[in-house]
């Protein structure tokens, strides 16, 4: 691949990226969340078409128009979210779409032998090929996907974060398999956050940052430190306003909180008037933690104490107790896109919108308009559906909802994901002013829990930061004791082994 660029609207997702891989090689593709790894892979697999640049496969021009085309050309992708038909058997899943057939009739005999072959190649021979996939473990399901790629006789196999949901033993099995496949001449692109994996597995690596290729090299010749430096190396700009915060009383305390799978024994304290950051990689369990705090996810063990209250929680109760959540995914969770701005802002607190249980749209609108002005949200009127706004303004609607509800504790999950820089700056200064409060106008400082995968943002806005890695939350330290390298080291599990 050479000179690949891709724009989405105003966002330049990839800037002239080059990438090459030799037969039988294992190439690690590294980068923070949002660095452009997924976009690049989607271009290879034909899901997106590049704006410029060329792709070549075995020297021939390769222009995949859709994922099927890519598969036929011998490129197989295995995504984090497995794409199996759960009710079909292992065999049917492996040969889905490439069933051997004669005149439209499936040849079951050929199917059995081809499936068996592929299953042997990935070490699944012990499993009955007729088992429905939903009865298999996650690790086995992943092997079924790899077997599918093998049955396809693929030449390039892309693995996207394959270990994120695997246990240690299964990871070792996977590594052996990946090595075996590469020795058969299959080229493997291995996407991962976890440096240790990259070190043990890959021959070469390429690092992407903000859509650009910022480095590549032979894995053995580079230190982990060098690679981390390439992944993060950015300058902090003055995007982040920071005023004096005066943390006072503890308003939220979590003690050894565990969820169903994640988090594991997370403990922390949140004070009024501070911004507390939780760093970590996607899938580390940060979202699960705050959803558990907010009563959206069950708590398996441990205690959450809000002022004097420590019983079970529901979102409704949490709003009443003065806690609000801006969820990570504003489209599927955070906002009712088809409804108006006014409806979205006032939904959790319709108390003052009319006598008793009445709600007057006029009052919803006027209440929303004051937030639209203060934050500010760029829109035509409070009646406009949220779907008509830009991502940044949608996010500000989600935050305005918390302010309207008058909460004291704000849980913000990736509040600046996918929004433009100007909106980001507004969100940062909003966070800062909320934590500061306003003594003159008797606005109490608020407590803010900020989850982010973007390290400069955490370092720029937080007072204290803790890091979550594979479900475990590190000790919180003042922001001055962290830098991007140390945060990244903890996030990718350099320290957790000893801790």
């Amino acid at each position: 691949m050479s000179g690949i660029s891709k724009r989405f609207g105003a966002t330049q997702a990839l800037k002239r990226v080059d990438l090459s891989i030799f037969p039988g090689e294992i190439l690690a593709l590294l980068g923070e969340n949002g660095a452009g790894k997924s976009t690049l892979m989607k271009i290879i697999s034909g899901a997106h078409t590049p704006d410029e640049g060329t792709l070549r496969l075995d020297g021939e021009p390769y222009e995949p128009t859709n994922p099927m085309h890519a598969r036929e050309s011998g490129i197989a992708m295995i995504y984090q979210e497995l794409s199996l038909a759960p009710h079909l058997s292992v065999m049917e899943n492996i040969l889905l779409g490439i069933e051997p057939s004669r005149r439209g009739l499936v040849s079951w005999k050929a199917m059995r032998s081809r499936a068996q072959e592929a299953m042997q190649a990935v070490g699944l021979e012990a499993i009955d090929r007729g088992t429905p996939v939903l009865k298999l473990s996650i690790a086995q399901q992943q092997l079924v996907e790899i077997a599918r790629a093998v049955a396809l006789e693929c030449r390039v196999l892309v693995l996207d974060e394959p270990t994120s949901s695997l246990a240690k033993k299964d990871i070792e099995t996977l590594f052996e398999l990946v090595n075996a496949l590469s020795s058969r001449g299959i080229s493997i692109i291995y996407i991962s956050h976890f440096l240790e994996e990259v070190k043990t597995l890959s021959d070469r690596y390429t690092v992407l940052r903000d859509g650009e290729r910022v480095g590549s090299g032979v894995t053995e010749e580079s230190t982990e430190f060098e690679i981390i430096a390439k992944m993060v190396g950015r300058d902090m700009s003055d995007l982040y306003p920071r005023s004096e915060h005066a943390p006072s009383d503890i308003v939220l305390e979590a003690t050894r909180v565990s969820g169903i799978r994640k988090p594991l024994n997370a403990s922390f304290q949140l004070r009024k008037g501070e911004v507390f950051g939780i760093a970590g990689l996607a899938g580390a369990g940060r979202t699960e933690l705050i959803e558990a705090l907010f009563g959206l996810e069950p708590i398996a063990s441990g205690e959450v104490r809000l002022e004097a209250y420590s019983g079970t929680a529901t979102p409704k109760l949490r709003w009443e107790q003065g806690m609000g959540l801006v969820s990570e995914d504003r489209k599927t969770q955070g906002l009712a896109l088809g409804l108006s701005i006014a409806d979205n802002i006032t939904l959790p607190k319709l108390d003052d919108m009319g006598a008793g249980r009445l709600v007057f749209p006029k009052r919803q609108e006027s209440a929303s308009e004051s937030w639209i002005e203060q934050i500010p949200i760029k829109c035509q009127s409070a009646r406009q559906p949220v779907s008509a706004l830009s991502g940044g303004n949608q996010q500000k609607v989600a935050i305005a909802r918390l302010l309207h509800a008058g909460v004291d504790i704000l849980l913000l999950d990736e509040p600046t994901r996918g929004i433009d820089v100007a909106s980001k700056a507004q969100v940062y200064s909003l966070i800062d002013s909320l934590a500061r409060g306003d003594a003159e106008n008797q606005v109490e400082p608020k407590a803010i829990l900020l989850i982010s995968s973007y390290l400069p943002e955490l370092l720029g806005t937080c007072d204290r930061i803790a890091v979550m890695s594979r479900g475990r939350l590190s000790e919180a330290r003042p922001v001055a004791e962290w830098d991007e390298h140390s945060l990244m080291e903890v996030a990718i599990g350099q320290e957790t082994e000893n801790a």
Binding site: L296, P315, W319, T332, A336, G338, D343, L350, R357, L358
Partner: protein, 348 residues
């Protein structure tokens, strides 16, 4: 860019939505007015018939509008209407001991109170089955389509059981039976302008519109349909709201049942209202609600019910065979939704 978004704002405004449907209604009406022989279509008697027939659909469709806005569906409405009809007739046939120890019909002794009791019982039964629908959907987490497909059969069976699978003839004409009697074409009753049942509908339209727009419950209904996850996140009691919505449908079906009872001549027919769920759902969908939830309005639904009735009755009068009528109505439903989808795609 701003021009475009003003346009999109205009397109998504509720007035344009309902206005476009009124236009469709007028076009459909004009079509039959022009093509039915001798102007018979716009005689007073025929217009009154259209209103009387559409009232049954429209009343049941009020509840269905709530359900569909929450992204649900209720297939049991036809059966609930039959249940209400049968319960009314059954109550009118209750016999009590008279002054001399002989059995007399209660309705003869209390000609006003007995029908009232019938209404209370029918409303109670219908609302209860509606609430049960909702409770099953919420507690067992079964999709509404399946739950109400099942309860459609169960409730129909219940209605047949109560009536021993026969039509129940009440011993006496009562005011319930007269709810939908023609007024405009009847000198003695023309002071009412519209049949009492239609007045009930008008009142219900006002109440239902008010609830949807001006109460917390109504805003919750839209929020759940637009994005259930968001609603839960914002502390909306999602389960409770859904149960109430299905209960409300049961309640409106009881009212529709009273109208149906009168419209079919004051008989407790357990087989009445078959296929009504389809007309009712079609009315709501033609009225601009979306199966994926979050959209819909009471006024739109009423226009939808009128369009369905006009197509149905106009088709009969123009002399189309039954099979043509059915094909036309089916085609219109698909057309209405297709136009909506196209419009949405342009907006997005």
């Amino acid at each position: 860019m701003p021009e475009q978004s003003t346009l999109s704002q205009l397109k998504s405004s509720p007035w344009v939505n309902v206005g476009a449907r009124f236009l469709a209604l007028i076009i459909v009406f004009m079509f039959f007015a022009l093509f039915v022989e001798d102007g018979k279509f716009y005689t007073l008697r025929n217009l009154e018939n259209i209103v009387r027939q559409s009232s049954v659909y429209a009343t049941a469709a009020l509840g269905m509008t709530f359900v569909i806005i929450t992204a649900g569906i209720d297939l049991s409405v036809g059966s609930i209407i039959a249940l209400a009809v049968v319960v009314v007739a059954w109550t009118l046939n209750i016999q009590v001991e008279g002054a001399n120890g002989e059995l007399v019909y209660m309705v003869h002794q209390y000609p006003f109170a007995t029908p009232l009791l019938a209404c209370v019982l029918a409303i109670g039964a219908s609302t209860l089955v509606g609430l049960l629908n909702g409770a099953l959907i919420v507690r067992l987490k079964i999709v509404p389509f399946i739950v109400t497909l099942g309860s459609m059969g169960i409730i129909r069976g219940l209605a047949k059981g109560i009536s021993s699978e026969r039509d129940i003839y009440p011993p006496e004409e009562t005011w319930i039976g007269a709810l939908m009697d023609p007024t405009l074409t009847n000198q003695a009753k023309s002071w009412m302008l519209l049949p009492p049942g239609v007045w009930i509908l008008v009142f219900c339209i006002a109440i239902a519109s008010f609830i949807l727009k001006y109460t917390r419950f109504g805003r919750h209904v839209y929020a759940i349909g637009s994005n259930e996850e968001t609603a839960r996140l914002c502390g909306v009691p999602v389960g409770r709201t859904k149960i109430i919505v299905y209960g409300l449908t049961g309640f409106f079906c009881a009212l529709a049942g009273f109208m149906q009872f009168s419209y079919i001549g004051g008989v407790g027919q357990p087989t009445t209202g078959v296929m009504y769920e389809l007309f009712v759902i079609a009315a709501v969908i033609i009225g601009g609600a979306s199966f994926s939830g979050g959209e819909g309005s009471i006024l739109g639904t009423i226009v939808g019910a009128l369009i369905i009735t006009i197509l149905y009755m106009g088709g009969q009068q123009i002399g189309w065979p039954k099979w043509v009528q059915e094909m036309v109505i089916g085609g219109i439903i698909i057309l209405a939704v297709a136009v909506d989808r196209l419009r949405h795609r342009k907006l997005a």
